[in-house]
């Protein structure tokens, strides 16, 4: 390293520590209040997961002049799902496969500052159910926190990329991998992990930001004898899933973290519940739920279960977007979730009271409606698969009305921009375990195209009126996340690799560029030295289409695998 670059890094360090001050202060501030509007401080822009930036230098008037500022190869193909973060003048981005790399770049030029390459074992792929993705890193207090496919959590010096500590969160050989960035609240870094399919018992865990020492662990499924265990048959809760594998949210006002939990396991509802729609109290808490927790202790404050006694692999993990909504003339501290099960949930995030739940994917047919009075879906018994009861043409299919790809909320338009899916399935209960010596995996879940001649749709959703304002249909499902900006724009990419800017009010496409590989990640925006940039990671999934039969073939045919960061600006 030359002296010159050392001096350069020293300069960065001063900026980084100044920024660190604002972040810590901000973590104790209301999460919905933007700190430095120039930054993109956490994966979801803020801990409210709005993915809204007030920046408006790029707007509906000039977005047509958007052009490439730089691109950067992540040097790791397939399933790149990272949201870059920007702290001061530095952009941090992770790659897939572990992550294979975390990079620090000059956010304006793309010049590389450092590269972190964790030791990821070669065999992680077999334990990652749904591809070798990493969705980004979290910054706090001069450190970067990296969740890893091998079940570990690492802290890096944000200035140098040097590893400060690494701690084991979970044994990845149980099928538990970490793919999403953690949430940092004061001195605690909080993470979950995946693996609902493999017989794990989900949990959230907090670690000391300085030492990596575990401070608390809260299981998302109660053990026999604990409150809530009466919602499971026998000992099945001990392998009941409920993994919290996606991102959490944080509300400083009530000092609460929010996390969604995955489907219960095993898939056969007869094992853990009644096997039909008359499940009574056997709802399998707290799977397929939204959890509110005390970040100091991990204690669960309240829960909302979106899919009681799930039979469809409707994970409840989708991100909770926190925003204040005007409902019936009153400002309500709301929490919003576009659930995999096809319903859009709006709740009071302070009390946990559910306010509304409506279908945002019109083909949703497993339930005719979601009754907020009884806190139960009004199910169609024909669409609930169980032992001896295969079900056909269930919508949504197991990837859900919306999968992990993040939505955004614009306080300017009052709309949520949801990357939704329109795919259906048949389902029959079967033995899908790995049988050593024969390893026959049994029946699968045949995928069917949803009605209407489209498989995905970018939906602009009014969360107060609970109805669609505009939509843009897509020929494929599993398209990228969204970004909403103060320039009245929505940025969005699809599996063909088309990256586009739309008018947030009416969905008109104002700019479009193909980036060469499918896009799953959500775009971000930031400003450095007075210039606004829009960044997106491309590199389509490879594992997921394998679950989806002919629909999957179209998904992989749409674009080659890839792994790059593209950054645009109006030049």
């Amino acid at each position: 390293m030359t002296l010159r670059s050392r001096g350069f890094l020293a300069g960065v360090s001063i900026i980084a520590s100044l920024v660190a001050g604002t972040i810590v202060a901000r973590a104790e501030d209301t999460a919905s209040k933007a700190a430095d509007p120039n930054q993109w401080a956490v994966a979801g822009h803020d801990y409210a997961n709005t993915r809204f930036s007030p920046l408006k230098q790029i707007n509906t008037e000039n977005v047509g002049k958007l052009s490439l500022a730089y691109s950067f190869s992540l040097a790791s193909l397939r399933s790149n799902e990272s949201s870059p973060i920007v702290i001061g003048k530095t952009l941090y981005v992770s790659s897939s496969w572990g992550p294979k790399y975390v990079y620090a770049l000059d956010a304006a030029t793309g010049a590389r500052k450092w590269t972190y390459e964790p030791e990821i074992p070669d065999d992680v792929l077999q334990y990652a159910c749904c591809d070798v993705n990493n969705r980004g890193v979290t910054y706090a207090d001069g450190k970067l926190f990296v969740g890893r496919l091998d079940g570990k959590l690492s802290a890096l010096d944000a200035e140098t990329g040097k590893e400060l500590w690494t701690t084991k969160v979970v044994d990845y050989k149980q099928g538990s991998v970490i793919t999403s960035p953690p949430v940092v609240v004061r001195d605690k870094v909080i993470t979950g992990f995946g693996g609902g399919e493999y017989g794990v018992r989900g949990s959230l865990q907090a670690f000391d930001v300085t030492t990596g020492k575990q401070l608390w662990q809260t299981f998302t499924v109660p053990a026999p004898g604990e409150p809530g265990s009466e919602t499971w048959k026998g000992d099945t809760g001990l392998h009941g899933g409920g993994a919290a594998w996606l991102v959490g949210s944080y509300d400083a006002k009530t000092d609460t973290v929010y996390w969604g939990t995955s489907n219960p396991g095993p898939w056969n509802t007869g094992v853990r519940s009644t096997g039909d729609g008359n499940f009574g109290k056997l709802t399998n808490l707290y799977t397929a739920s939204t959890l509110a927790l005390d970040p100091n202790t991990g204690k669960i404050k309240w829960h909302i279960q979106g899919t009681p006694a799930d039979a469809w692999d409707y994970d409840g993990v989708n991100e909770l977007v926190l925003a204040n909504l005007k409902i019936d003339g009153k400002e309500v501290p709301a929490l919003m979730k576009a659930d995999r099960n096809g319903f859009f949930f709006v709740a009071d995030r302070e009390t946990g009271k559910l306010l509304s739940a409506e279908k945002f994917v019109p083909s949703t047919n497993w339930a005719s409606k979601w009754d907020i009075a009884t806190m139960r879906a009004v199910e169609d018994p024909d669409k609930r698969p169980g032992p001896g009861h295969p079900a056909k043409d269930i919508c949504p299919n197991l990837i859900g009305g919306k999968n992990w790809q993040p939505m955004s909320f614009s306080p300017q338009t009052g709309l949520v921009y949801i990357p939704s899916n329109n795919v259906c399935m048949d389902w029959s209960v079967s033995d899908i375990s790995y049988k050593r010596g024969v390893f026959y995996l049994g029946a699968e879940f045949p995928t069917k195209e949803g009605p209407g001649g489209y498989l995905g749709e970018l939906i602009a959703w009014d969360p107060v009126k609970q109805k669609k304002v505009w939509g843009m249909k897509q020929d494929l499902p599993f398209n990228g996340g969204t970004l909403a900006t103060g320039g009245n724009l929505v940025f969005y990419g699809n599996l063909h690799g088309d990256f586009m800017a739309l008018d947030a009010k009416d969905g008109r496409v104002l700019w479009k560029k193909n980036l060469g590989s499918g896009i799953g990640a959500g775009p971000v925006t930031y400003s450095v030295d007075g210039k606004q940039y829009v960044a997106v990671v491309v590199g389509r999934t490879a594992s997921l289409p394998a679950f989806l039969g002919d629909v999957g073939k179209k998904m992989t045919a749409a674009a080659p695998e890839g792994g790059s960061l593209f950054v645009f600006a109006v030049q």
Binding site: K233, G388, D431, S433, K435, G437, A443
Partner: protein, 392 residues
Amino acid sequence: MCRDLGSVLRILAPVVLLLAAPALRAGAEEAQPLRLCADPTNLPFSSDNPATPGVYLEIGQAIGKALGRPVSYDWYKSYFGKRTVRVTLLGKQCDAMIGLTPSDDFMGPAVIFSKPIAREGYALVSAKDRKISGIDDLKPLRVAVQYQTTPQNLLALRDDIQKVTVLSPEEGMQALDQGKVDVAFIWGPVAGWLNKTEYGDRYAIQTTDGEGLLWPVAVGFAKGSKELRDQVDALLPEITVMFGEIAAKYGLPNDTPIKLSAAAGPMLRHASLDTAARPIVLAQAAVSPTTTAATSDASVASPPKPEAVNDGHEIFNGTCAHCHGPDAVQSERHIDLRLLHHRYGDDMRDTFWKTVHEGRPAKGMPSWKDVFDDGQLENVYAYLLTVQNPSD
């Protein structure tokens, strides 16, 4: 109980001699190595440790000897499931893979199978003095069940049996040994191997039979290796005898399976295990002679039996759908089978039989008569009748 190696060799010797006979028929050009795909760490089935190669590799070595070909190995973890097959066998890295379940919907027509050489199943493992001859005998007991398996599904219907969930056969045997359960209902071959190597043959192992409980095991080949497959099939009588001997060496159960079924009807709708399953007793086999007979005169006027249609549908989606689309939904008109009646009218049935029996090699349609029997193909036809385009 432990058979010493010498006696195994004495028993094997005549079998190997028998197997050696066909080698004389094989030409000199056959001296190419027989490449086996195998998992290096999957005892009792296979291992890269020459001292304990495992049941499958010993069978493979004997097959190689009988064919006059030396045996070589391509190692790949079987945990990856179908990907293992795709990368190794279909990637032409090896000629054969021992231990696949012969099933139409395993990987479509890309993989072909020998006749079953053995069967493996879930087993009830318990102390030797405990008699278990049916599910009711489990009533007062604590039973370890493997997560997400047929035993777990089966016993879920019985609230009067106390289940303890385990994630692996190893964990099931431990629970048994530590007195946490009275019976372990786990994957039999592995239970047998553990019983022999770690538990001093303390436990009795009762193999079970019933839907999803007992699985035929065959040798798998890529579809281009029909000749090799036929050579292996010709050795079948010797191989099945030998399997028993080798399996005993590794502790695999060699008992008569007892039939278990759920209280009420079939609880699982299963991928059919019907290919060439003649020597295998399968409960609730998908194709029954009565169904076949009933549907032989199927016509539009008298709709075929739902079981026949269901079975045909399953075969279709497992195999035919690869080209003709799941549920026969296909946008390419020339391979859209919903247009069969529109296109062939009264000749539809004859055209179907001619095509499935003989194939249309020039157009990529294989002949299926060696893969499915006529009863199964009849069921496919019964299913196709239900999806014909009604506009004609």
